[in-house]
Symmetry: none
Subunit: 193 residues, 4 copies
DNA sequence: AATGAATGAGTCTTCATTCAT
DNA sequence: GATGAATGAAGACTCATTCAT
């Protein structure tokens, strides 16, 4: 394995550890030491891969958002209707709770995330949603919903799916049934018959 | 003004100041000194009305939740259909962004709020949603949505509304138009024709 | 009752309250509020009779010491032998534990007491002990003990008595028996046969 | 020097610094910052070796008491008479003023020391004094002093030796002469002829 | 004169970050 | 490169003291 690959491995290791810790703890409640311990490295090592604690959150957020955007773009290319796209996005959120959680946190304490970075990814997400909205309007699926409300609504549905997963014990949830219900709700709301 | 009223005034003053600060800042990012300064009182004064920083958050949360439950109960008594109830709830959230924000924060860092208090109010909210759901099922408005998903969805709509208010500059929003759109989305999603 | 007498009463009230509190608590652990509450007066009232918290301790110490010096001087005039004087002093300490306690505290954290005041009362006590020592040497009761050690020893005996009273539950102590034993110890030690 | 030894060194360094500070200041008057400065380390370093300010006092007390008990036990094994033991203990106290001081403080503000720890060491000391008393009674040295008073007396003598050292400038004291006098006093008091 | 609400200086304690090994 | 001991800035909280009523 090359030098570079090794480095990437350790960085990923720390990032995964941070993701795990941030799942149960606030950014301010999680300590760098804790993240280091979970990753099985020394506290100082963290600072060889990240310039600060903030930076870990930034990269985590960036990574999550990039994967997300990529995924949604793929969906948009293959899907016929936006009903289908929305259905897939909801599935994605239910299957990847931790990803949603990070994104949700970002909205809440955007203070912890570099402002300009937050703004730029906000635009990125708004852009993708604009495209979805245009597609829906063109296909006749969306009739009476403004672009702005469409975007907020979609985010809210994702949040509610996430809240659902967080509030109920995972083992008691029939994931497939929940996915189906949420899809129906979302699509029925958006797409006027 | 009586002694008691004065005391309530100062407590309310601090509570309002805290509410304002917590709007733009995380619990951990907001400092007691900051809250005091915003309220125009000394640091020590805070501790005459609250036992700790946590206590401020608790009371804020409690107050917000109590007002909310009271409001929803009132709505349920007067409204004819749950469509109407839901419409009013959405209006409420759009008009009282800070209230939603506090509630949303509670879900995110429930760690900052006394656990048993959080659990008990979770039950309270679940209970009220159960009643709404039953009402909707009885009236035939809700047909194919399970109670759990109904609750999560409703929370999601509220979040959507909140996200919308947070993401866009208040002065650029046509509040009444936004309300109408969100109501339509919610009711169309929930209430099968 | 005259104005002056009333004033003295309230001052004494506070002083007694402070004495009671300082019995179970350190100077720094006892709060002014606590002393006020015990005395049944407002916190602010304390500052009408004392310039500071320190001042309360000073006066308490002064009062205790003055009473003590007065008492010992009386004893010296009436007693025939210093054995008798010492016996009476020990009785006094066993009967007035709180007084001893204050004095002992003074030695320990002399930092809490105004330095020059402490020095001056130290001299006062040394002076009275010098007189006792001279009396004992003259009467032949003391033969081979230097004046300095005599003073320290006497203080030690008092401390012993106090420690005894502090360490054992008061109700389990046969006060008269304890007095007799301590007297015997002290006199036998000091007064060579 | 090994890692472990280094660590012990720094802990000891802090402990010594604290011992020095507590000599002239009350527990509450001494600040952690002061202890750190005296030890030549940062404030934060203290908390790598001690969990709290209290913990420093506890360890200091524990250490002093352990050394003391060990020393007295050694003396009891080698000494022929308890007169000899007592003499040695007095010498020890005069030579180790700071140790006595810590012990004396413990009696005074036992509130600053963990209660159960205080109780357990009280029993330890009482136990050792019980053995001394039994030895003295068996050898005929102690005739008419009860065990409880014997213990208090011995503690008092130690205190008086300590007070003597504290009250007089060290350089003006003829240590050997003082030791001899205190021994004579103590033994003559306890051991009836 | 009496009060207690208001205050902020002073403390302990935490934790992100640095740096010598 | 990896480490974790050392650090001090920052923050919650206490309490003696003041002062308006």
């Amino acid at each position: 394995m090359s030098k570079n690959a090794e480095q990437d491995d350790k960085k990923t290791l720390i990032l995964n550890s941070a993701e795990y810790i941030f799942q149960s703890k606030d950014y301010h409640q999680a300590t760098v030491e804790e993240i280091a311990k979970k990753a099985g490295v020394g506290k100082g090592t963290i600072y060889q891969y990240f310039s600060s604690k903030q930076d870990i959150l930034q990269e985590l957020y960036q990574k999550g958002k990039d994967e997300y955007i990529k995924r949604v773009n793929e969906l948009m290319e293959t899907a016929e209707t936006i009903a289908e796209v929305i259905g897939e996005i909801i599935s994605f959120h239910i299957d990847n709770v931790s990803c949603s959680r990070i994104m949700l946190r970002s909205v809440m304490h955007s203070g912890d995330i570099n402002h300009s970075q937050f703004e730029s990814s906000k635009h990125e997400i708004e852009h993708i949603m604009e495209i979805m909205w245009q597609k829906g309007v063109k296909s006749g699926e969306i009739k009476d919903i403004s672009q702005e409300v469409f975007a907020s609504y979609l985010i809210g549905i994702m949040m509610s799916a996430m809240v659902h997963m967080v509030m109920h014990k995972p083992q008691l949830i029939d994931t497939e049934k929940v996915k189906a219900e949420f899809k129906q709700l979302a699509i029925r709301g958006l797409c006027a018959k």
